[in-house]
């Protein structure tokens, strides 16, 4: 175990202890602040139920991610590499981005029902905009000489796209994926909270009405855990494909 790991684990343990201590002091009502032991109790009582719900939620998230990533990157890169389309689509997309998408959720429910489909649709829609916008501006900001040089070397249009433009825009694309994906995760859980019959969000809402604060916290932790995991994954991706960008910036 490395030193930093030890420090981290120590810090976490201290925070948990402090949290438990504060809860025990009774300054804050246990209805608002569940103690770690209350969360533990929730795990003991309903851990299995939560795990099953978590699986449902994760599956919805996975499908929404697949949709939003492919559509977002596809539309963004395409619009970015066609100057006319980019000049039109860019401002349009960023105007649409201002709409609070959550108001569309009741419509999705009316269209496809209370089941997973409406959550997937909403998650994908909320992830789409930042992903497409970042991909679009990432491609548009590239120095046009890169494409020129490649063409002068005899590169085909496909080669220019896949071997030059896409990798150059990748750091911008990945930072769009980061924002978009966290919106997807939250979108799925929040819409489960709003109206559904399953998933972690449903359990959060259900236990809130019962004032089972420990359960509510457990559900929120699971959702944050999903966000954390995906964020970690993206960091790896960023490190692998965007390393040169980071190094360049630290040099400059």
């Amino acid at each position: 175990m490395s030193r930093t790991q030890a420090v981290r684990i120590g810090g976490l343990a201290a925070a948990l202890l402090a949290w438990e201590g504060v809860s025990r002091l009774g300054w804050i009502s246990p209805i608002i602040l569940a103690s770690p032991s209350a969360v533990l109790a929730a795990i003991r009582a309903d851990g299995g139920v939560f795990l099953q719900a978590f699986e449902v939620t994760l599956a919805e998230i996975a499908i929404a991610i697949a949709l939003a990533w492919s559509l977002g990157i596809g539309v963004g890169v395409a619009a970015g590499s066609l100057p006319r389309l980019g000049a039109t689509a860019g401002p349009l997309l960023s105007s649409l981005f201002a709409i609070p998408l959550i108001i569309l959720y009741p419509l999705f429910v009316a269209w496809v029902g209370m089941g997973p489909a409406s959550k997937i649709l909403f998650g994908a829609a909320s992830g789409f905009f930042p992903i497409a916008l970042n991909a679009l501006s990432g491609v548009r900001c590239l120095d046009p000489r890169f494409a020129l040089v490649a063409r002068g070397m005899g590169a085909t249009t496909g080669q220019i796209f896949f071997k030059v433009l896409l990798p150059l825009a990748l750091p911008a694309i990945i930072s769009g994926l980061r924002v978009g994906t966290s919106l997807i995760i939250i979108g799925v859980v929040v819409t489960e909270m709003l109206a559904s019959v399953g998933g972690v969000g449903f359990l959060i809402s259900y236990h809130r009405t019962m004032f089972n604060t420990g359960h509510v916290y457990l559900g929120i932790f699971l959702a944050l855990l999903a966000a954390l995991l995906v964020n970690r994954g993206l960091s790896h991706l960023e490190e692998r494909f965007g390393r040169w960008r980071i190094l360049e910036q630290t040099r400059a």
């Binding site: 401002p91 859980v189 909270m193």
Partner: protein, 254 residues
């Protein structure tokens, strides 16, 4: 160039609306799932003269405004202090960035457990949505003040007040306005979500109940109204942003 882009956008929006009208009129989709655009506009027109609807709209408007009026000065002063007092900034900034990365929406149930359901809860939820973006942008704005300019102004004998009003303010304004714009959007999202989740009043509540009652025509009218209003607000703030930021694009461009 910009004019053709604008024409393209209007064309696109027009085409979408016309397509919507057409598929519904010709019954390519079930009109009970997607009533025609014209029908939605009609009912929206009725709503806009309906006192009860306007009262709900007002509730939401007041919540949003109250949250913004509280959050903006609070966040700007926090950001200014963090940016100016560098040694605090080093400690607090990473924390703020972590908090910003954590989605606030998901804590809504805890807000309700803490503040109940009502005006206070909506406003506080809106404030937390707006606050952090504005702080982060203000810190960035302070960092963006060109130090050589401050030194130069001092050497000309500028007073501290002059330095604040003549250099700090114009240099910071573009990024601060960006923060305010994003803060406003997040604030609206927060308030609407809180209304949809649990509330007795407000346009968010209306939209949610129309959905539950399968009143798609009314639901679409509400969605349309909120969308147009937020887009308009966003565009106005973007214009403001472009105005105070003109000097930036002039020096950074080309």
């Amino acid at each position: 160039m910009q004019r053709t882009a604008l024409a393209g956008q209007l064309l696109f929006v027009g085409a979408v609306l016309a397509g919507w009208e057409a598929v519904s009129q010709w019954r390519w989709v079930d009109p009970s799932l997607l009533p025609p655009f014209s029908a939605v506009i009609q009912i929206l027109w009725v709503f806009l003269r309906d006192g009860a609807f306007l009262a709900d709209l007002q509730v939401t408007g007041v919540e949003v405004l109250t949250a913004f009026v509280i959050a903006a000065p609070l966040a700007i002063s926090t950001g200014f202090l963090l940016g100016e007092k560098l040694h605090w900034g080093e400690v607090v900034n990473p924390v703020i960035h972590v908090v910003l990365a954590v989605p606030q929406s998901i804590f809504l149930p805890i807000f309700i457990l803490a503040f109940g359901i009502g005006f206070l809860e909506k406003v506080i939820f809106g404030i937390t949505h707006a606050y952090f973006v504005i702080v982060v942008n203000t810190v960035a704005a302070v960092r963006a003040i060109p130090a050589p300019l401050v030194v130069a102004a001092r050497s000309f004998g500028a007073t501290p007040v002059q330095i604040y009003t003549r250099i700090y303010l114009p240099a910071m304004l573009p990024l601060v306005v960006t923060g305010l714009r994003l803060g406003m959007i997040f604030n609206i999202i927060g308030v609407l979500l809180a209304e949809m989740y649990a509330s007795r009043h407000g346009i968010g509540r209306l939209i949610f109940s129309w959905g539950e009652a399968f009143q798609i025509r009314e639901l679409l009218a509400g969605i349309l109204l909120v969308s147009v209003a937020t887009i308009a607000l966003n565009e106005v703030m973007r214009l403001w942003e472009a105005r105070v930021g003109r000097w930036r694009s002039a020096t950074l461009g080309s």
